[in-house]
């Protein structure tokens, strides 16, 4: 039975109001951090290392003159306080090897100093006059090379390898020995930029009492709070963080960036300090998607069942450890939650390279691990002459399966529904059966599946607090530590509480967080907000509704069970003509009962089901130019329940765009010879833009998830996951190749096809005679 048939009719959930601040954004009325213009602000400009690895011998500002120059900050005049900018809760484990400015530069683009001046342009000019003397050191760029050179980049304690397994070693070995096929692959995923429209920026100002206030467009206010306090060596009570409106993040603003720097500078200069990065600085000096090299070996028996799998992933942390261990862990968890594989082993080895830092990026390792395993599964299907769809259907997890690695169970996992429904809608069987052709243009289809989590439960503490009030004019306020990143979280939270409270979403306000006033929450990350915070919002609204009914019954002199609420009005069913607006009733309750309609809820996540998706791709490869034209994408997502279907589909389409870039065009492409990123600006870092976007059809599977609000679960991160291997699988189908070094740029396609020379006729456009073959006249001009 579908969800629609099991649930009562909903008024707000399932509707698609636009994102609440969309109109203000479109009209330029929303105030971003760079629109703030505090009086007397000093501006910082970063000095970046041009060397991939070098000891900094001297930073000389003695020739800086004019330009409103104020001061140079560097590792030579700031204390070396080590921190890990990926930590988000107190006492979290993690190697602390970063500091504000190092005395050894470890990658091209690393901020090694900052110049403060009266204006941004002045700071930039002054920075150009600063002379830095380096002593070059040996450097390493490729993760596999780094494995052989431990201690070259970081000399402190190295992250230990991570390992997860299911089954036992003996049966795993036997499975490989007895397999009908053992399929091996090495898959490389690139270092990527998030490309949020808003570049990184931060502001800070002294609070006059020895502390500091920091303005930050961030994903996790309390994490910023922790790290700023640590670096400034201040008690948390002396640090205030205010989250500003933001122009996108995609994980790029999840770890702490330059907030500690502006805070330290503001305290030192005793005036407001402002730092805004350029696009190039945002690309090479902040965070990137973790580059990975995955080696995978899969055993399949004669029935087409996967009997064992071993995956070893080299996780490229970049120059500092940051979240690399967490990414390695997150990838490993996903490997156990998509297929029923009785014997499995996953190992992640973390390496440091002289390249920009890795960090959170949409999917937090999911696009990487799924690229590794789903490309391999397609190769397995081909090797066994199986339809990749049927092969997967034999092996996919089912609803409420356990997690064999010991994590929370999978919940109402509907990946089989996704794949079956998608295959039918896409016409998979017919398209798969078509020959790709041997002419210039080859067509291919590909599919892939993916899973992602719903929060941290089972891995890290996942909890928070919310307060909910009905004000005296009937408006409703939800005070929670929710972060709007541009994805519409405030809008869906309003829909959830409005549904419970029988009001319109517009009557609900949810402020952006501020550590002085907002309660704690684990942050807008880990695909947890809809599932965890949304469920909390639903519960607190239900609690407040009960309170409201109880208090109103006292005022109306009736029984609580005879109190009705609808469309912002409350009344006693026995007195249907005496209806009260919520504001009027709230005022009466305050006046007569001396009670504020208010609830506070402390919540803890108690489940972490999987969200699932299957993507289908149809594309065409030009065998001469190597250009790939994606013609069509079908994305089928198990979302439990779409609170706002338009926003869900928007997330999916945006995720497809990011995934296409990861598969085909995007790469920082750090040169192993120089350590410089070739893709360090948008003229060389190629996002898939609107003219190249294929039509994307979205189908939602809404079978409900018990612990999610109205059955909802996550979608935003998973949206960027299965598309990556689906595209690669389609290219390999078109060309008969086993390409697995992402992105599949045209040069790699041409090179791969050269290895197949003699099997094709590139001058045959359609696999038959050229349309010009019989032409001997020309068209009239």
């Amino acid at each position: 039975m579908s969800l629609e048939n099991r649930r009562p009719v909903l008024k707000q959930v399932g509707q698609s109001p636009p994102i609440g601040d969309a109109a203000a954004k479109a009209k330029g009325r929303l105030c971003y951090i760079t629109d703030r213009d505090p009086d007397r602000a000093a501006h910082l400009y970063l000095i970046l290392s041009p060397k991939p690895h070098a000891k900094i011998l001297k930073i000389d500002a003695s020739r800086v003159a004019g330009h409103g120059y104020i001061k140079l900050f560097s590792g030579f005049n700031l204390p070396e306080i080590k921190f890990n900018a990926a930590k988000w809760f107190s006492d979290q484990a993690g190697i602390e090897d970063q500091c504000l400015f190092p005395k050894t530069a470890r990658y091209v683009g690393e901020a090694i100093a900052a110049v403060a001046a009266e204006t941004r342009a002045g700071a930039r000019c002054a920075a150009a006059q600063v002379k830095v003397i380096y002593e070059p050191l040996e450097f390493v760029v490729e993760p596999e090379d780094a494995l052989a050179k431990p201690g070259l980049v970081q000399t402190g304690s190295a992250p230990s390898p991570l390992e997860f397994s299911s089954g036992d070693q003996k049966t795993r070995r036997a499975a490989f020995e007895q397999a009908a096929a053992v399929v091996k692959d090495t898959v490389v995923t690139p270092k990527l930029h998030h490309a949020a429209m808003e570049n990184h920026a931060a502001q800070a100002e002294p609070n006059g009492r020895g502390g500091v206030t920091v303005f930050s467009p961030c994903q996790n206010l309390h994490a910023v709070h922790l790290i700023v306090a640590q670096v400034c060596q201040l008690p948390l009570s002396q640090v205030r963080i205010i989250k500003t409106h933001m122009g996108g993040s995609f994980g790029g603003k999840q770890e702490i960036g330059f907030e500690p720097l502006v805070a330290v500078a503001a305290l030192d200069l005793n005036r407001p300090v402002f730092l805004e990065l350029s696009r190039r600085q945002s690309i090479i000096s902040t965070r990137t998607r973790t580059k990975t090299v995955g080696r995978v070996r899969t055993a399949v028996n004669e029935q087409g069942l996967i009997t064992a799998r071993e995956t070893e992933v080299i996780v490229d942390a970049g120059a500092y450890t940051s979240n690399a261990e967490m990414i390695g862990r997150a990838m490993g968890k996903k490997a156990f939650r998509l297929y029923r594989i009785p014997n499995q082993r996953y190992i992640a080895r973390i390496v440091h390279t002289n390249t920009p830092l890795s960090g959170a990026m949409r999917g937090y390792g999911s696009p990487q691990i799924h690229a590794i395993t789903e490309i391999n599964l397609d190769h397995a299907a081909r090797q066994l002459n199986l339809d990749p769809c049927q092969f997967r259907l034999r092996n996919l997890v089912r609803a409420f399966d356990p997690d064999p690695s010991g994590g929370p169970d999978l919940g109402n996992a509907r990946i089989v529904d996704c794949l079956r429904r998608g295959a039918e809608e896409f016409g998979w069987a017919q398209r798969w059966a078509q020959e790709p052709g041997t002419g210039r243009f080859r067509t291919g289809v590909g599919l892939a599946c993916g899973t992602h989590g719903n929060g941290y439960f089972g891995s890290y503490p996942d909890f928070g607090t919310m307060s909910f009030r009905i004000l005296a004019d009937g408006s409703i306020n939800l005070n929670a530590c929710l972060h709007e990143l541009g994805h519409g979280v405030m809008t869906i939270m309003k829909q959830i509480v409005a549904e419970v409270m029988e009001v319109q979403p517009e009557s609900v306000t949810i402020p952006e967080p501020d550590t002085d006033f907002s309660p704690y929450d684990t942050g807008c990350q880990a695909s947890r907000v809809t599932f965890v915070c949304g469920a909390a919002a639903m519960r607190i609204a239900q609690d407040l509704k009960k309170m409201f009914v109880r208090e109103a019954a006292l005022i109306l002199g009736g029984l609580p069970e005879r109190i009705a609420m609808q469309d912002g009005q409350i009344w006693d069913l026995d007195k249907p003509k005496q209806k009260y607006g919520y504001g009027r009733m709230a005022s009466l309750i305050q006046k007569r009962s001396r009670v504020e309609l208010s609830q506070t809820l402390f919540y803890q996540a108690e489940a972490n089901p999987g969200s699932y998706a299957a993507n289908f791709v149809d594309l065409e490869v030009d065998s001469l130019t190597g250009v790939i034209r994606v013609k069509e994408v079908l994305a089928v997502h198990d979302v439990g329940r779409a609170i706002n279907p338009r926003l869900v589909k928007g997330q999916i389409r945006g995720g497809i765009q990011m995934g296409l870039g990861m598969a085909l065009t995007e790469d920082l492409a750090v040169d192993p010879g120089t350590g410089r990123a070739r893709g360090n600006d948008f003229s060389r870092y190629h996002l898939v833009n609107a003219p190249d976007m294929p039509p994307v059809k979205v189908i939602l599977i809404e079978e409900g998830e018990e612990q999610g609000p109205f059955g909802a679960k996550s979608v935003g991160e998973l949206a960027a996951v299965p598309i990556v291997p689906a595209v690669v699988n389609a290219v390999n189908h078109a060309l008969g190749t086993r390409l697995s070094d992402l992105p599949l740029i045209p040069e790699k396609i041409v090179e791969a096809l050269d290895r197949q020379k003699g099997t094709a006729d590139p001058y045959n456009s359609f696999g038959h005679n050229s349309p010009l073959a019989n032409k001997n006249t020309v068209r009239e001009k």
């Binding site: 190597g626 190629h686 898939v688 020309v778």
Partner: protein, 295 residues
């Protein structure tokens, strides 16, 4: 950072008059799509920037029957949409129409595209194939007056720092001229050319021949490459199903010879084949080509 003064004039004569007196270092800006980026990156060495978008007489497209003339401040969008250019030099209209984004094309000018000197400049291969000349206001070697009008190959190396291209012109074609432009980049729009190819031909329809053909390859070196042997190959060539493949093979040889030691040679010598096939298909069979190369 140097901040040059920006000024503008209503007429070319006023620009000339100003420059005859001015002693400092001059720069020119029209659309600013390249210059603003350069300015942000490293500042500008100029004392003054003359804004050519204020000089209306530098914005025109005319054909006098013998020659087609384009003012230097004419935008790419205007060139792409011009009936005169589409009739006389479709390759140039196509190149202008594929340059950057709509927003960039609305600002970027022909003079800027030539003057910025990018090896990947989209207008250069068509202009080379069209044998275009530029009228240039240049500072004389023996003084500082801008009083010497030169006519140069717009894609040559004669342009010097502080020169001002005022006009580009090329011979008008016969009614049997056909032309086309194909560009290969990282994506279908808003990308820098990895390779581009322009072809201009005079046809003999009765005999089904190319009477004369000229082509130019872009993004292979600092200047477009115009291989003589391919002109010989094209001249009096019969138009048949082998035209595309034969041209493709010869162009691949040109690429191999032009960049023998460059890492991109292998890719470009394959990609140029695709560009050649697309170009021939586009010119002779636009319906089969699906019109995908139209600007």
């Amino acid at each position: 950072m140097n901040s040059p003064t920006i000024t503008g004039f209503k007429s070319l004569a006023e620009i000339e008059g100003f420059l005859s007196e001015f002693q400092g270092r001059v720069g020119f800006v029209a659309g600013g799509t390249d210059l603003v980026l350069a300015m942000r990156r490293a500042g500008l060495p100029n004392d003054i920037l003359i804004d050519l978008s204020q000089t209306e007489e530098l914005n025109f497209i005319q054909s006098d029957g013998e020659m087609v003339h384009i003012g230097t401040a004419t935008t790419m969008a205007q060139i792409a949409a011009s009936p005169v250019i589409r009739e006389q030099a479709l390759c140039l209209a196509q190149a202008a129409g594929q340059m950057g984004s709509a927003q960039i094309r609305n600002l970027a000018t022909l003079g800027g595209n030539i003057g910025s000197g990018s090896p990947a400049a989209d207008s250069l291969p068509p202009l080379t194939a069209l044998q275009a000349k530029g009228k240039v206001l240049t500072r004389r070697t023996n003084g500082f007056a801008y009083d010497d009008h030169l006519v140069i190959d717009v894609c040559g190396t004669q342009l010097r720092d502080q020169d001002l291209i005022t006009e580009v012109s090329f011979p008008a074609g016969s009614s049997f001229r056909v032309s086309g432009f194909v560009k290969i980049g990282a994506r279908s729009s808003l990308s820098i050319a990895k390779l581009s190819l322009a072809l201009v031909m005079e046809l003999d329809n009765e005999l089904g021949l190319i009477k004369q053909g000229r082509l130019a390859l872009g993004a292979l070196g600092e200047l477009p490459i115009c291989p003589d042997n391919l002109e010989l190959f094209l001249d009096n060539r019969k138009i048949d199903g082998r035209l595309g493949p034969d041209l493709a093979d010869r162009l691949a040889e040109v690429v191999d010879g032009a960049i023998p030691a460059r890492a991109s040679r292998f890719y470009k010598s394959s990609a140029i084949k695709g560009a050649a096939l697309d170009l021939i298909e586009q010119i002779f069979d636009p319906i089969a080509g699906g019109g995908k190369h139209e600007p």
